[in-house]
């Protein structure tokens, strides 16, 4: 969307024409549809409540969905290859738990954080190996690791949460950077950094090109002399890694690593990716879209609370929004 500013100067006719082209390019973008939805929600909530558009509330929203979004970046890579990673939630839990268990045993914060994230990478690589070398469908392989990782969390802790994590670790999730009188949450910064890295990886590197190609047509990609097994192992590993990072940040924010943490989060992660325009049939999707998708889900949650809707109705509304968002996107695609 950075090309918006490019049309300046020249005769008015040319400007109008250039504006037309730019406008069409924006509308044609995959992210446009979901962005409109997000914008509508924000405008509506701003007008109907006086608590929504405050810096505290906005940063609360951003902090709350940051780890979901980081995990969803990885999920996006997987879904672009026409796969699915159901283990995301469990991986978040086990990664956070791994960090926490190391920390309470006196391991330094950087080492514990890295080890926790790498735990995610390991689970992800195993997913990739099961899918390629073990020839399991992604749904089955990651369903298996969802249960195995979760079971490991319970087994290792005996069901008890790990508490008393050091402050330097908790700061990763809780610290607000003072900027112009506002506190910008650190997790938000992490989310943006990983978002940019993943986005650049996907759009500018050889591997990114191959991920799109694989999802668009696996046969043609294999016949082009590309090692498709490798590409798959890579995306599942990265999905595991990003879920791991998200899990460590979540644990830092909560200040406690419970074996039940992030239970069911895989569905939020998948929803964020899909609402953000990532096609489950593969070959399509962007990180920007996923970011918007994750934002929609959190704004919705937050908005319903602000409007005094009973928490019991939350899930029903969320489900409705997922379905509507995707129908809207399909409609937009068909009209083109």
């Amino acid at each position: 969307m950075s090309s918006v500013k490019s049309a300046q100067g020249g005769s008015t006719g040319a400007v109008a024409q250039a504006r037309g082209i730019v406008w069409r390019a924006i509308i044609g973008r995959q992210e446009f549809g979901v962005f409109v939805i997000l914008l509508t929600m924000v405008v509506f909530l701003t007008l109907s409540t006086n608590t929504f558009l405050t810096s505290t509330n906005i940063f609360n929203i951003l902090r709350a969905f940051s780890w979901i979004a980081i995990s969803a970046f990885g999920q996006c890579l997987v879904i672009i290859t026409a796969g699915i990673d159901l283990s995301a939630g469990s991986v978040m839990a086990i990664s956070g738990l791994a960090s926490a268990m190391l920390l309470v045993r006196g391991v330094s914060v950087p080492v514990a954080v890295i080890a926790g994230s790498l735990t995610g990478l390991v689970v992800g690589s195993l997913n990739g190996l099961m899918i390629t070398k073990g020839r399991l469908p992604p749904f089955i392989a990651t369903l298996g690791s969802l249960l195995m990782a979760r079971g490991l969390c319970y087994g290792l802790t005996g069901g008890w949460p790990v508490r008393d994590l050091p402050l330097t670790f908790r700061n990763l999730g809780q610290y607000d950077i003072p900027v112009a009188g506002m506190g910008v949450p650190l997790p938000l910064i992490f989310m943006l950094v990983f978002g940019v890295i993943t986005s650049v990886f996907l759009s500018r590197t050889v591997w990114g090109y191959r991920i799109y190609a694989l999802g668009g047509n696996e046969t043609a990609t294999a016949l082009s002399g590309i090692n498709t097994d490798w590409v798959k192992i890579m995306v599942y590993s990265l999905s595991g890694l990003l879920s791991g990072i998200g899990g460590v940040l979540m644990t830092a924010r909560l200040g406690v690593a419970a074996p039940t943490a992030a239970d069911g989060y895989e569905l939020d992660v998948i929803a964020a990716a899909v609402v953000g325009g990532t096609s489950l049939s593969g070959g399509e999707g962007t990180i920007l879209g996923v970011l918007i998708g994750a934002a929609i889900m959190q704004v919705l949650r937050n908005g319903l609370v602000l409007m005094g809707v009973s928490a019991y109705w939350l899930q029903a509304v969320q489900g409705l929004v997922i379905v509507l968002a995707i129908m809207f996107d399909q409609l937009r695609k068909r009209r083109r």
């Binding site: 799109y212 668009g216 047509n217 016949l223 002399g225 590309i226």
Partner: protein, 521 residues
């Protein structure tokens, strides 16, 4: 035969697909109790005609009369109601259900009484009725048997019984003998005779001329979407049929330029994938275009896939430039300097969702990147240069491949392999379904590549193309190399004779006096 006896009359049937006139004013007729063999080269329009008859395609023009009454066949279901059944090469049976359940698929008899309202199947009645139909075709198959436990021939009998159960008066058999052994063919012909005696009309599509002469009452020949001849079987001879099938003169639309033929570039020995490709050996030399001729299912595409490492081979060695290479996957093949333009552009050649640019650079991404970082300017200029060189008509490089015409899509697939500069390029049906202009461009490009020293394998079902473009022609039949012919000694008749397994030397000698080498049945 009088009007009255005709169960089916098709008049002036035409059908066009984008870029091809598949059928052009074809007439066809069929009498009760008659067996008509429908023959023609691949792409002559046989399947299209039959698909129109059984409701899978709608015709563009023409009339269909059933028992003298004009009919508009609207859907496969409608065709079934009208008593037209088709038995495809690939059977439409559900392997985990019984023969009876398959015969009564979608028409299962309901139980009487309360069970009727709950849609309970009356299994005993179904099995009894199914058994009657199976006995009618002389199949010794219990109707309770599961399909997956039956032999191919028995499955075919179930298909025939299924057709009879819906009271079919016209049965179309598409290459029914291709999967059968010698004995089973005899059994099938026995069944056909039985059906004939019951007044059922049969359309028999085949490539095997000996079978035509054995079972048919009449033969109808199609070529390039037109009916070029028909005759009662007592007037038919293999020579006559082959001549009608291919009877075209070579036109000068092929811009084949002579290229200097050099040293062997690709040496294939004993390539085997059991049951599909048997002991295929050949050399491809520098600057040579080697045509692969043969019928559909003769193993040409499979051979190409084996060479390229796309399928697992049971035996065989491959040398490129004199050095033995181990090719276990397409990755190895590309590394060894091979390229493959596959049979089906949409399914195997292109990523339709991605832009033209990405498709072109797919095999060579590494060359446009430094430590994984794509040089987008380099990538764009490479793609641009191929789009210009091959005259690919696309509004811009970001156009998704799915929006290009067939000819331009094919040129994108070609561009993608040219960019990788292979030593050997295997092209499977490179001009199928593309318009004449694009076809000529593809041919010109092939000549040009050969002149630059590339070795090209061209699989084609179009004999004119094979003869016009090849330096040598390898004919395959039933997974084996039936012959390797020099361009000078090859004729359409000769190739067809080798390809259809009609290799009695009589025909070969009748059409040409040169003796051929490497002939085997």
């Amino acid at each position: 035969m009088s009007e009255q006896d005709m169960v089916l009359r098709m008049e002036g049937i035409s059908k066009a697909f984008p870029g091809v006139q598949a059928l052009d004013g074809v007439d066809f007729e069929l009498a009760a109790g008659e067996v008509v063999a429908l023959v023609g080269e691949n792409g002559a329009g046989k399947s299209t005609l039959m698909k129109i008859l059984c409701g899978a395609y709608r015709k563009d023009a023409g009339c269909i009369f059933l028992n003298g009454q004009e009919m508009e066949i609207e859907s496969p279901h409608h065709a079934q109601q009208l008593g037209i059944a088709i038995i495809y090469q690939e059977f439409n049976l559900t392997p985990n259900q019984s023969a009876a359940a398959n015969i009564f698929l979608a028409r299962e008899p309901r139980q009487r009484g309360v069970g009727r309202f709950l849609n309970f199947v009356d299994r005993r009645r179904m099995e009894r009725e199914a058994q009657k139909q199976l006995d009618r075709v002389g199949a010794h198959v219990p109707s309770t048997e599961l399909i997956r436990d039956l032999s191919v021939a028995q499955q075919q009998m179930v298909e025939v019984a299924k057709a009879l159960a819906v009271d079919a008066r016209i049965i179309i058999m598409d290459e029914p003998t291709s999967a059968l052994g010698e004995d089973e063919v005899d059994t099938l012909f026995g069944i056909i005779s039985t059906l004939k005696a019951q007044g059922i009309a049969i359309i028999f599509i085949t490539h095997r001329l000996d079978e035509v002469l054995r079972i048919a009452d009449r033969v109808v020949v199609l070529r390039d979407g037109q009916r070029v001849g028909g005759m009662p079987i007592d007037e038919a001879t293999p020579e006559k049929i082959i001549h009608l099938m291919v009877g075209r003169e070579l036109t000068d639309m092929f811009s084949k330029q002579e290229a200097e033929i050099g040293a062997p570039l690709l040496e294939v020995r004993g390539l085997t994938r059991r049951g599909i490709v048997e002991d295929v050996s050949f050399d491809l030399r520098q600057g040579e275009i080697l045509g692969f001729a043969g019928l559909v299912g003769a193993g040409r595409t499979e051979t190409a896939r084996l060479i390229f490492g796309a399928d697992h081979k049971d035996a065989g060695t491959i040398r490129v430039d004199g050095t033995p290479v181990r090719i276990d996957s397409p990755v190895d093949a590309v590394q060894a300097g091979l390229g493959l333009v596959p049979e089906d552009r949409g399914l195997q050649g292109l990523v339709l969702k991605l832009p033209v640019k990405e498709n072109i650079v797919l095999p060579t991404l590494d060359e446009h990147a430094r430590v994984g970082w794509v040089d987008r300017r380099d990538l764009r200029s490479t793609a641009r240069s191929y789009v210009d060189a091959l005259n690919i008509r696309t509004p811009h490089l970001q156009q998704r491949a799915m929006f290009l015409s067939g000819g331009n899509q094919q040129k994108v697939v070609l561009a993608k392999w040219l960019a990788s500069q292979p030593k050997v390029l295997i092209m499977d049906e490179p001009t199928r379904g593309i318009d004449v202009g694009a076809k000529a461009e593809v041919h010109a490009l092939m000549s040009q590549l050969a002149q630059q020293g590339m070795g090209i394998i061209m699989i084609s079902s179009e004999l004119v193309e094979i003869l016009g473009m090849s330096d040598r022609i390898l004919v395959m039949a039933e997974g084996r190399v039936a012959a390797i012919l020099e361009q000078a000694e090859a004729t359409q008749e000769k190739i067809m004779a080798y390809a259809s397994g009609e290799i009695n030397n009589q025909i070969v000698n009748a059409t040409s006096n040169t003796t051929s080498k490497g002939a085997q049945v």
